[in-house]
Amino acid sequence: MTNLDHGKFTRMTTTFHSLLALDVFALFFTGYAIMFNDHLWWLLVLMGGNVGVVALHRIAGLGLVALVTFWVVMMLITDTGRSNFRKVVPTGDDIAAFVQDVKFMLGRADERHPNARQFAGYDSDEVPLLSYVGKGVVFIFAIELTLLVISGLLIWSKTGLMQYFATKTAAMAFVVFHGLLGIIMLMGVMFHIFEHGFHPAFYPLETKAFIPRRMIPESHDDEDVEGTGIERLSLAPSWNLVANLMGVLVTVGIVSVMTASIVDEGYPVPRELAVEGGVIELLLTIGINIGIFVLFVGLVLSLYGNVIRRRWERQLQEQRERPTAGDGEVASAED
């Protein structure tokens, strides 16, 4: 066993993460099938055609409202919720960590700030529950999802929208906002998938968001090892190829989605501002489909995370029944 079991989440957080991922993927697959309907015609058909797709999108939207409401209530009424919330609130150290990271990239700092530590290579007590990047992800996703829910509900109910905003301009602003924010969120999610799926120490998946903390031992009493444990890992042979490939796919996906939303006449960028498509239309079609492929990989990884959790549970179970025999195998559950 290595020293990688830092940043542990409760069972509720891991379950919530999985459900949220499923729901958000459903929203993305339907939403992008609508927005990029000419590039993702096959997805539109799979999602129930032009009538079914809106129905699915709205049902998933209601699912999101339910999940978010549940989460907010839990944050407020449980002790763990409140303490988790405190751990997510950004501090001065997080800003310092960001600044130091920029310096680090420029070669002006020797090491990364403790609040930037997220992955292997440190003792687990040196690593915060969430790095500043992790906190950023939580906050950005939370804000984006809230705004998407609000604008989505307003767009859904035409009369509600008109009643509150009285002018067509305001109503249209919400429609466009919903689309643009969706694109920004897509880029963030692609990055999130890459970040947590293709790190050399965790490839093909960082398990902390899937295996609840009470299933992870607090100490490593099996052996007394010097070092952080990272030196005991060996790099998966396929990592290099797969990580590079996914890096390229994520980049192509993000760039295409961004470009297509500008080039594509009409929604969400007004016609007057749109650049003419023409020749690059084909490239964009490929690029956007690559983006959807990246999302699909994310969905598969999210499901795989739960498979790993099941395996982990089973091994713990066996270990409990045969106290010594299982030790070696637990470590291999990380693969």
Binding site: N50, I155, K158, M172, G266
Partner: protein, 220 residues
């Protein structure tokens, strides 16, 4: 039509085909509903849908300053036009907001300047309804099946400007039928000139005119 009247009012339909616009002369409209009937009969429009409808505003009220029969002039002068009936339909805008906002490109500005709905692409999101300043988009299937359950709009339907009739040289059914020639069909200059000749004002504000006619709005 008597000879003296003919000198004042020309035909509503002045031209058809490419770059033809459709625009109401509200001062001529007497709210008889002839256009509505003509449209329904021509296209078999279902009972609970109207591709053209007459909106009557300030019902029973008198216009200010003797402008009772000159709603357009009253609007231009910023005074109350009194009871006015406006034939509302899709004006096939030059700067069509509905086309801009349709996420599936189901609404398109055709080469000939007409705005078309491609039924097979429409997802019933009703963004066009939010965008259209004239309330043209209709959703006759909005309470059917899945559309009803999830609150989507079914497929959008609106005035086609009788493009099929125009292809064979006929004017839109509503304009041909209108007994007072209150629906003007022709290019922007023809419409502007005809309104001028009738001494009818433009009932819509500059923003709306800019949306409908684009650069040609200057003709008015």
């Amino acid at each position: 039509m008597s000879k003296s009247n003919q000198e004042v009012m020309g035909d509503g339909v002045m031209g058809v085909g490419e770059n033809t616009r459709i625009f109401p002369d509200v001062e001529a409209c007497i709210d008889c509903g002839g256009c509505v009937v003509a449209c329904k009969r021509t296209w078999d429009v279902p009972r609970d849908e109207q591709r053209i409808s007459i909106s009557t505003m300030l019902e029973g009220q008198e216009g200010e300053g003797g402008l009772n029969a000159s709603s357009g002039r009253a609007m231009e002068q910023g005074t109350s036009p009194g009871e006015t009936s406006i034939p509302m339909q899709c004006y096939h805008c030059d700067n069509a907001p509905c086309v801009s906002v349709c996420p599936t490109d189901s609404l398109v500005s055709m080469e000939d300047g007409f705005v078309n709905v491609r039924d097979s692409l429409c997802i019933g999101c009703q963004y066009c309804l939010s965008a259209c300043p004239f309330g043209a988009p209709q959703f006759p299937d909005s309470d059917e099946g899945v559309a009803d359950i999830v609150g989507s709009g079914g497929t959008m339907d609106k005035c086609t400007m009788c493009d099929e009739r125009q292809e064979v040289g006929k004017g839109p059914a509503c304009a041909e039928e209108c007994s007072t020639d209150a629906i003007l069909v022709g290019d922007a200059t023809q419409i502007a000139d005809e309104l001028e000749r009738r001494d009818s004002g433009v009932f819509f504000n500059d923003v709306a005119m800019e949306i409908i006619f684009g650069d040609d709005a200057e003709a008015f």
